[in-house]
């Protein structure tokens, strides 16, 4: 087979959804293998490694993201049913969740306010532009909620999605090490913090630790999404004038 026919086959295949769907799964399998080889170290985050491999492939083959997504959307679609499936581990931990109802609600309000308002405040003090700030504020909640909030505040939905993903990966890598260093070692608190500050990607990390950690992360992700959607759109306009020089 000469180089021309290889190019021809590639040109044909790369336009089919199958190639990028297969490569998405292959990149993930490589990432999971590396994660396991690293003894489950959080820095070997499977989302981060998979994305790095795929971005390198897309850039090397000059493939636009839209064509990649035509194939990868079949994986993306499963996020919906997977989110619904979080009810199963939640149900498994129901007794503990109900017993900790009061502390959970307080931690939710405190964490939600800190995560949402601190991003805006720090960004504003460092001179970030208004659309960037509005896109940054809802970074800790799950993508569809964050995009809706950002648009209401004058941010850019697609930029918000990027901040949400970066926040998720960052939290998934550093959360448990950071909290353990502060003496927080119980599964409930680590899981809750992961889900609250780093939404679904943090929840995926929590499930790597244990099912109980994952259940608390799922709960925090859902509750913080709801609370942030209800509070941030009217809290930020109150905060913004205070930060103007």
């Amino acid at each position: 087979m000469n180089a021309d026919s290889v190019t021809e086959i590639w040109v044909y295949l790369s336009a089919q959804p199958l190639v990028w769907l297969t490569l998405t799964l292959a990149a993930y399998l490589i990432a999971v293998t590396l994660h396991r080889k690293a003894g489950g170290h959080p820095a070997a985050n499977p989302v981060l490694i998979s994305v790095a491999i795929l971005v390198a492939l897309l850039l090397a083959t000059d493939t636009p993201y839209q064509r990649y997504f035509d194939g990868a959307q079949f994986v993306h679609f499963l996020l919906g049913p997977a989110t619904v499936a979080l009810a199963v581990p939640l149900h498994g931990q129901l007794k503990r969740l109900v017993a900790m109802g009061g502390p959970i609600l307080v931690a939710l309000v405190v964490g939600s306010l800190v995560a949402g308002l601190s991003a805006y405040t720090i960004g504003a003090l460092l001179g970030a532009s208004a659309p960037t700030l509005a896109s940054l504020a809802p970074k800790s909640v799950t993508t569809p909620i964050a995009m809706g909030i950002a648009e209401r505040l004058g941010g850019l939905a697609s930029l918000t999605a990027v901040f949400v993903i970066l926040t998720g990966i960052f939290g998934a890598i550093f959360a448990d090490g950071l909290l353990r260093r502060l003496g927080v070692k119980d599964e409930a608190s680590i899981g809750f913090a992961l889900g609250l500050a780093s939404h679904g990607i943090g929840t995926a990390r929590a499930f790597q630790l244990s099912e109980q950690t994952g259940a608390f992360a799922a709960l925090a992700m859902g509750l913080n999404g709801l609370l942030t959607a209800l509070t941030l759109p009217w809290l930020l306009p109150l905060l913004a004038p205070l930060l103007k020089p």
Partner: protein, 118 residues
């Protein structure tokens, strides 16, 4: 597996329908999760083995499901470069603060040393 997947999709659909009908600020799948939880609480025998296995399979590979959206980061590299430092510092510091605030609060409230409080 098929019945469990159909159940998950049906609850997602119900969540989506409820979101549109009531103009809820929360995405359909999150409402679907709440509805399924209520269903599992009402159902005396809890989740079936089949649902447990299907949900477990999906959640074990939850990281995979974020990869297509994550790869979209490549579209915004240029836009990020202009304000790289304010963005990076705000994002990192705020995520750390959010983790500490929520983790420590729950830890303190739920795991007070025994005897100090009744």
């Amino acid at each position: 597996m098929t019945a469990a997947l159909a159940l998950l999709l049906a609850f997602q659909l119900a969540g989506e329908a409820l979101r549109v009908a009531l103009h809820l600020p929360v995405p359909g799948p999150v409402i679907g999760m709440a509805l399924l939880l209520v269903y599992l609480i009402i159902r005396p025998e809890g989740p079936s083995t089949e649902l447990r296995n299907t949900a477990g399979g999906l959640l074990q590979n939850l990281s995979l499901l974020f990869v297509p959206a994550g790869t979209g980061v490549m579209l915004h590299v240029g836009r990020l470069a202009d304000e790289a430092w304010p963005i990076a510092i705000a994002l990192v510091a705020s995520t750390v603060l959010g983790l500490i605030a929520s983790g420590l609060t729950l830890h303190w409230l739920a795991h007070r040393p025994r005897g100090s409080h009744r």
